[in-house]
């Protein structure tokens, strides 16, 4: 394999590993704030128990996010020097603002949030929680500005082959930024919603019947049921925006080869770039035209429009984009179905969590990972869909790659993969281990410096701020 391919795989592996954890921390910070405020308002211990459990998950996820993020910030230089040389004048300030405004904020107040519960006054602890949550969201904002700019560049001019910013507001509020930001933040909320619901369902299934596990299950399911319709709506808008700015990507997502009207929505197909057609097509007539153009006769661009004179394709690889898009949307609809079913059963039987049928609880457990699946699939759609461009219309991926010997890239890649696989296994293992211990009421027996309350020392009152 050549350096380009290996570098792409390496970058893809690193960012895929990284994004798993921001997806959790961005929304979980706000959920923790919610738990804490509920506890402050009601004094009910179930909220504090929820906080204590999830703050552990937060700390662990945050650490994973930080260390993998550090890897990311070196990747630009080690693997894609051409990127910074060409668009550094735009990417640089955006990354710098992320470090300055977001990373230091998160990092400094994280310590107070995790360890400071009884060292600082209540209001300062709550403020620290707010600032950490705000910091993660802000960092998502900056990096998504940059990423969106790479998809839909705006506000720049080119001098001597180097990109210069001509209008920073246009750079920041580039055409796809609002959609991508909304879609990714919602994705984070959904990931956390299903994670909370899934682990709570697991605790319920192994026999825990505490007030906190009920509350967590309800919170998770309700948050999921609330966000998923919004997400589907935003995703649709996002797709329309992409149709306007990156039609080749949408053509690949739809598996549509010829520019034509009455395009079906394909449920299944195997796109084949050799024959430039789909095999085993199963679709709903006209639906893609209706979704994208709001009428059955709507003309949808096809992949054959993006082929150079000499026949080399100038569109992204079709198969991965087509299927990752279907994975995301399919997972989204599974989320809709499961969360609404759960809310429905609870409302209909009026017995709260007891009203949930067992099979549904069993489905909720693997759904804990559905957010990760949809998020990764979504990013793969977006990023592979941008190929062969690194920055749409300005710089191809090939132009940016470093001239590092392929074996070096390959061997470091292998090491990263081994480390990531081990850490992922450990991470998931610890989530279930913590859940089991919580279900058995043992969470407090081993002192953890960041337990906000002297754990398991009966009778100690919680400082209710």
């Amino acid at each position: 394999m050549d350096t380009l391919l290996l570098s792409r795989i390496q970058f893809g592996a690193n960012i895929s590993f990284h994004i798993l954890f921001p997806t959790i921390t961005i929304a979980l910070g706000w959920v923790l704030l919610f738990f804490k405020l509920r506890f402050n308002a009601t004094g009910d211990m179930k909220w504090m128990d929820a906080y204590r459990f999830w703050v552990k998950v937060f700390a662990l996820s945050f650490a994973m996010g930080v260390v993998s993020g550090i890897t990311m910030s070196f990747q630009f230089g080690t693997n894609w020097p051409g990127f910074m040389e060409t668009v550094g004048n735009i990417a640089g300030p955006l990354l710098a603002y992320e470090v300055l405004t977001a990373f230091f904020l998160e990092a400094a107040f994280l310590g107070i949030m995790l360890f400071g519960f009884s060292r600082v006054p209540g209001w300062l602890h709550t403020t620290a929680t707010v600032l950490v949550a705000f910091g993660t969201t802000l960092s998502a904002f900056w990096i998504l500005v940059l990423n969106s700019w790479m998809h839909t560049p705006a506000g720049y001019e080119i001098r001597d082959g180097v990109v210069f910013a001509s209008d920073w507001l246009a750079v920041i509020f580039n055409p796809s930024m609002p959609y991508r930001l909304a879609h990714v933040l919602l994705a984070s909320g959904l990931t956390v919603a299903f994670l909370i619901a899934g682990l709570a369902a697991f605790r319920w299934l192994v026999g825990e019947r505490s007030a906190t596990v009920r509350t967590q299950l309800k919170t998770g399911v309700a948050l999921g049921a609330l966000l998923i319709p919004v997400q589907i709506f935003v995703g649709d808008m996002h797709g329309l925006n992409t149709l306007e700015h990156q039609p080749a990507k949408v053509a690949a997502m739809e598996g549509n080869w010829e520019t034509q009207s009455n395009v079906p929505l394909l449920l299944f197909a195997i796109p084949d770039e050799e024959t430039r057609s789909n095999r085993y097509e199963v679709g709903i007539p006209n639906l893609a035209s209706i979704i994208l153009k709001h009428k059955a006769e709507g003309v949808v661009p096809g992949l054959n429009d993006f082929v150079a004179e000499d026949g080399t394709p100038e569109h992204p690889p079709v198969l991965p984009v087509f299927w990752s898009f279907r994975t995301m949307v399919g997972t989204g609809f599974a989320m809709l179905f499961v969360s609404w079913a759960a809310v429905g059963f609870m409302a209909w039987r009026r017995r709260g969590v007891e009203g949930l049928p067992k099979p549904l609880l069993w489905v909720l457990v693997p759904m804990a990972g559905s957010g990760w699946l949809a998020t990764l699939a979504g990013w793969y759609t977006t990023e592979i869909g941008r190929q062969p461009w690194l920055v749409t219309g300005l710089l191809t991926t090939e132009q940016a790659v470093a001239e590092v010997p392929a074996p070096l890239v390959g061997s470091t890649l292998a090491v990263y993969l081994v480390v990531y696989a081990a850490l992922l296994a450990a991470y998931i293992g610890v989530l279930f281990y913590l859940s089991l211990r919580a279900a058995r009421g043992q969470l407090g027996t081993r002192p953890d410096p960041r337990d906000p309350v002297p754990a398991s020392r009966g009778g100690v009152q919680i400082p209710a701020e």
Partner: protein, 336 residues
């Protein structure tokens, strides 16, 4: 922007200064975190917990200075960034894996099943060691002009070893500051051992650098510029001597002077750093690219400069807040 003079002149210099400052802050702050990791094998179980508690609230913010430094290199000197990081591809990868292991081991050792704790302790130590050695190696290769030959590799092995010793020293000094009773006494012993290493390291590198690099030789031994350098070895000598006497008398019953080893470590790191900076100016890639040739467009730099002016004081403020909240001995942290 004209009020400051020619932006193509002062902006690159300012950014080189900022980057240098970030690296220095990183080396001192994450240096003590990594140092604590390096000392792990010498501590027993309970001491390990306390040592971890002493860096728990800080390590993340400390590591952020590395992101800041590499970020500034990336934004201010994009061409140099590419050249340096591709040349250091392998050690960077080793460092990253090391930082990953070290960072997650913190969390896992407190949360994983007790049977796994030993393995995470091991990961914490190994990660710290990988990060320290690779950083020292990169420093050596960078000093030698980013070329890897037998001679430069030997030099880099030397810097790798001595940066690691330096980190252990400052880690030990941190533990002296943040602990009491038996652990503090133990840490003073570590620091005493470390000080030999630091002395040896500074001497060895000072001798080897000019021998291995003609450019550095010229910079150091051309009159009268060399006079500018003279205060550095003098001050280092004085600090080392003072440190030597203090360490012999620590720990004190009333805990006075516990801050001295750490402060002295900071001064020594800073002095060594200024020596390096002096030897390199105006190059960002030794002998290849000056900071002026490598700098990005002044417009972009100015945008970042504005941000830095506004945000840096705020960062300093809330870092200070974090250190004040967690001042005092680390034992108190445990059952918060």
């Amino acid at each position: 922007m004209d009020i400051f003079g020619d932006p193509a002149q002062w902006l690159p210099l300012t950014f080189a200064g900022l980057m240098g400052l970030s690296i220095l802050i990183y080396v001192v702050l994450d240096g003590f975190d990594l140092g604590v990791g390096l000392l792990f094998p010498f501590a027993d179980e309970a001491e390990k917990d306390r040592m971890i508690a002493s860096i728990g609230p800080f390590w993340d913010a400390n590591e952020t200075w590395l992101v800041m430094a590499v970020g500034l290199l990336l934004v201010a000197f994009p061409t140099a960034h590419g050249i340096i990081l591709t040349a250091l591809y392998l050690p960077v990868a080793v460092m990253l894996v090391g930082l990953i292991l070290r960072g997650v081991a913190f969390e896992f050792r407190a949360k994983a099943p007790p049977a796994h704790k030993r393995a995470w302790n091991m990961a914490f130590f190994t990660g710290s060691l990988m990060a320290a050695l690779s950083q020292g190696w990169m420093l050596g290769i960078y000093v030698m002009g980013l070329e890897t030959t037998w001679a430069t590799a030997t030099f880099a092995a030397l810097t790798a070893l001595f940066l690691t010793v330096g980190y252990s020293y400052i880690g030990a000094a941190w533990v002296v500051l943040k602990s009491d009773s038996a652990l503090q006494t133990k840490a003073v012993g570590w620091a005493r051992g470390g000080i030999f290493g630091v002395l040896l390291g500074i001497a060895a590198i000072s001798v080897a650098s000019p021998l291995a690099s003609p450019r550095i030789f010229d910079k150091w031994f051309s009159f009268p510029e060399a006079l500018l350098l003279l205060p550095l070895p003098l001050m280092s000598g004085i600090v080392l001597l003072a440190l030597w006497f203090t360490l012999a008398r620590l720990p004190k019953a009333d805990d006075s002077f516990a801050w001295v080893p750490f402060a002295a470590g900071v001064v020594l790191f800073a002095l060594a750093f200024f020596g390096l900076a002096y030897s390199f100016y105006p190059y960002v890639v030794p002998d290849q690219l000056t900071i002026y040739e490598a700098a990005s467009a002044p417009e972009s730099l100015f945008i970042i400069f504005l941000g830095v002016c506004i945000v840096l004081p705020v960062i300093v403020l809330y870092s200070a807040l974090a250190y004040t909240v967690f001042r005092g001995k680390a034992t108190e942290l445990r059952y918060d």
